[in-house]
């Protein structure tokens, strides 16, 4: 199939899936603007990016894992671990308050490392192992909070990081997203580690025979995913000023959807970070429009599901089995 835009040099390098995703974003923006003129105001759009940046942290880790051909279902409770442990650190004195976010991220990193050990070294399918880690993380948090949500308040600096506008009037989380995004693109395109991720996603045996220490790469990617999920949790705790049980639940399915809508193959080995950015914006805008329109929750879910299927049918179809 030839891409009609292939003649334009700038566009030729872009994946048709990514282009379609951006096209859908433009359509959503137009639709939103028709319903409500405030929709295209910079303030509103920046707010969307701010809200989207939490999903983006999770989706970045999820994308790296999906590029390997694996999946990370432990995201919901690792987010909660990140939120709860970083707010808990505040209670450990001034030292804890200063390092609140690193402590939360470190806890997520540890869970991510265990994920990596299970998938890379014990060879347990990631779908079930990360599910187990999710249950274990939940168990620890339930035990720690005693079954109810204590007033785990975020520090002032966490709140500032999640809601403030330090530079150029752009919300801080968006800057964080830009930093993480640039780092991810560099990692994926300019480092041996990044190329190894794609190689393993295509075929681990071949990658191994090419001299890549595949198990270490898988371990590291799961650790990164855990750390990013926990970081998202710390940001979320700052945003809503406290951490609570179940705060990560609404992020698992949207993060997978965002990665896949961005053209990354769920089978691994193929996908660009730009696509994930498009996927995150797409999901965030869709959720925002559905809530602005004050559609009842039931129809919102229906439309959300239908739109994802429709968009995937547009460009996310697999190859036909022929032999």
């Amino acid at each position: 199939m030839t891409n009609p835009l292939a003649n334009l040099p700038v566009l030729r390098r872009l994946d048709p899936a990514v282009l379609t995703a951006f096209g859908c974003i433009v359509l959503l923006l137009l639709f939103g603007a028709m319903r409500n003129p405030n929709f295209l105001s910079p303030d509103y759009l920046l707010l969307q990016l701010q809200v989207g940046s939490f999903l983006a942290m999770v989706a970045t880790g999820m994308m790296l894992v999906i590029l390997l051909g694996q999946i990370d279902l432990s995201v919901p409770w690792i987010i909660t671990v990140g939120g709860m442990m970083s707010t808990a650190a505040v209670g450990w004195g001034p030292w804890g308050a200063t390092f609140a976010i690193p402590i939360g991220v470190l806890c997520g990193l540890v869970f991510g490392l265990v994920n990596g050990i299970g998938v890379a070294y014990l060879r347990v399918p990631s779908m079930i192992f990360t599910l187990g880690i999710n249950a274990v993380a939940q168990g620890f948090m339930v035990l720690r909070t005693g079954g109810f949500a204590p007033q785990d308040m975020a520090t002032e600096s966490m709140h500032d990081l999640a809601t403030g506008r330090l530079l150029l009037g752009i919300p801080n989380p968006v800057w964080v997203w830009i930093a993480v995004g640039v780092a991810t693109v560099f990692l994926l395109r300019r480092t041996v580690f990044g190329r190894a991720i794609y190689a393993i996603g295509n075929r681990e045996t071949a990658a191994y025979l090419s001299g890549i220490r595949t198990q270490r790469v898988v371990l590291a990617v799961f650790a990164i995913s855990g750390a990013l999920a926990a970081f998202a949790g710390a940001l979320l705790a700052g945003y809503s000023t406290k951490a609570y049980q179940g705060m990560g639940d609404p992020y698992l399915l949207p993060s997978i959807a965002a990665v896949v809508l961005g053209g990354t193959s769920i089978l691994g080995g193929r996908g660009t970070y730009l696509g994930t950015v498009a996927g995150v914006i797409l999901i965030t805008l869709l959720q925002s429009i559905l809530s602005v329109e004050q559609i009842p929750e039931a129809y919102r879910q229906l439309i959300f599901g239908a739109v994802i299927v429709a968009m995937l049918l547009l460009y996310g179809r697999g190859a036909k089995v022929t032999a």
Binding site: L122, I128, N134, V136, L143, L253, G305, L312, G316, G318
Partner: protein
């Protein structure tokens, strides 16, 4: 040479049958051991009431796990299975009511709804050629929306005679729910497993290109597997209505049942890579999963420890398969 393609069930080949059913038999053994520990430590002992309560709880997850098995056998995954389950729960709380005739049609309606949901999944995955993980995430959201439409607030009712009949005991203290589950296995699973269709599903799960090259109708088989998965989830939805007498569009329930069904399937020896395992194994996997939680109760552990304990047991049990790594002589076999 001629038999080696045939499933070895004829005389003397018990070794192959045993190898094939190893996961199921292991799950059965673990379940029996756990259940004996459970009942012998239960304050009321091994009584019909204890068994019936355990069966009623266990059958719910067992049905959803069976639903998941049909799809997992094709090397797919159904993340909407819990949502079909609660959608059918909400629907049942509306239409499984009234006279015997009305109730019968109500039950048929719920089963048809589940079948339709499964068929929609199948159509999107097979004819739309989308990956099952993402496709069922999206349809799950849509099913949840419909469930909310049906039951914005928990409520509704169900034909109590039927509900009580299926959740109480038959004479002799046999739990009715366990008998119902047995009937489901005999009417749906066994015929499926013995039929040409079942064979094709196992073949597709083992290797889709090979099944295609053998001239099998892989699309039809996969489609029917997804549809049957939806049907099984609807039976589960009917059953939870019989147990609770209400319909509730609970997001928590939907997510928990979806995730637990995957755990149950794995504990029951069904391979997530497809083509290996049986729904009977998945039933025992589900019963094991449920008994773990109950064990904590009889040992008087602080309920706060329950989620952590469940998680650790789940993690350890999925790691048990890693013992096969010790026997690997060629590192390339690691990557399978």
């Amino acid at each position: 040479m001629t038999d080696h393609a045939l499933p070895a069930r004829h005389g003397g080949d018990w070794r192959y049958w045993f190898g094939d059913q190893r996961g199921t038999l292991l799950a059965l053994a673990v379940f029996i051991a756990m259940f004996v520990i459970y009942t012998s430590n239960h304050p009321a002992g091994f009584s019909a009431d204890v068994v019936t309560t355990a069966a009623n709880k266990g059958v719910l997850l067992a049905l959803v796990a069976m639903a998941q098995t049909f799809v997992v056998l094709t090397a797919g995954i159904d993340l909407s299975v819990g949502f079909i389950f609660i959608l059918c729960n909400c629907l049942a709380s509306h239409i499984v009511l009234g006279s015997a005739m009305q109730t019968t049609f109500g039950v048929l309606g719920v089963l048809a709804a589940g079948l339709a949901c499964g068929a929609l999944n199948g159509a999107i995955v097979i004819y739309g050629r989308l990956q099952p993980i993402v496709a069922t995430i999206a349809t799950g959201a849509a099913f949840y929306g419909i469930a909310l439409l049906l039951r914005e607030q928990p409520g509704g009712d169900v034909n109590e005679e039927l509900a009580d009949f299926l959740t109480n005991q038959f004479p002799g203290g046999i739990p009715a729910s366990a008998v119902a589950l047995l009937v489901v296995v005999l009417v749906i699973w066994i015929p499926f497993r013995k039929s040409m269709l079942g064979r094709v599903v196992y073949a597709v799960g083992s290797s889709e290109p090979a099944a295609y090259m053998s001239g099998l109708n892989i699309r039809r088989a996969k489609f029917i597997a997804y549809a049957l998965g939806g049907l099984m989830a609807s039976i589960g939805g009917l059953f939870i209505t019989f147990v609770t007498y209400t319909g509730e569009a609970s997001l928590t329930n939907a997510n928990t049942y979806t995730l637990n069904s995957i755990a149950a399937v794995v504990l029951g020896g069904v391979s997530l890579f497809g083509g290996r395992g049986s729904a009977v194994g998945a039933i025992f996997g589900a019963l094991i999963f449920r008994t773990i939680g109950d064990l904590l109760f009889v040992f008087d552990l602080d309920p706060l420890w329950q989620p952590l304990f469940l998680g650790v047991v789940l993690l350890i049990s999925v790691c048990l398969g890693s013992f096969r790594l010790i026997r690997i002589r060629n590192r390339l076999d690691l990557f399978g």
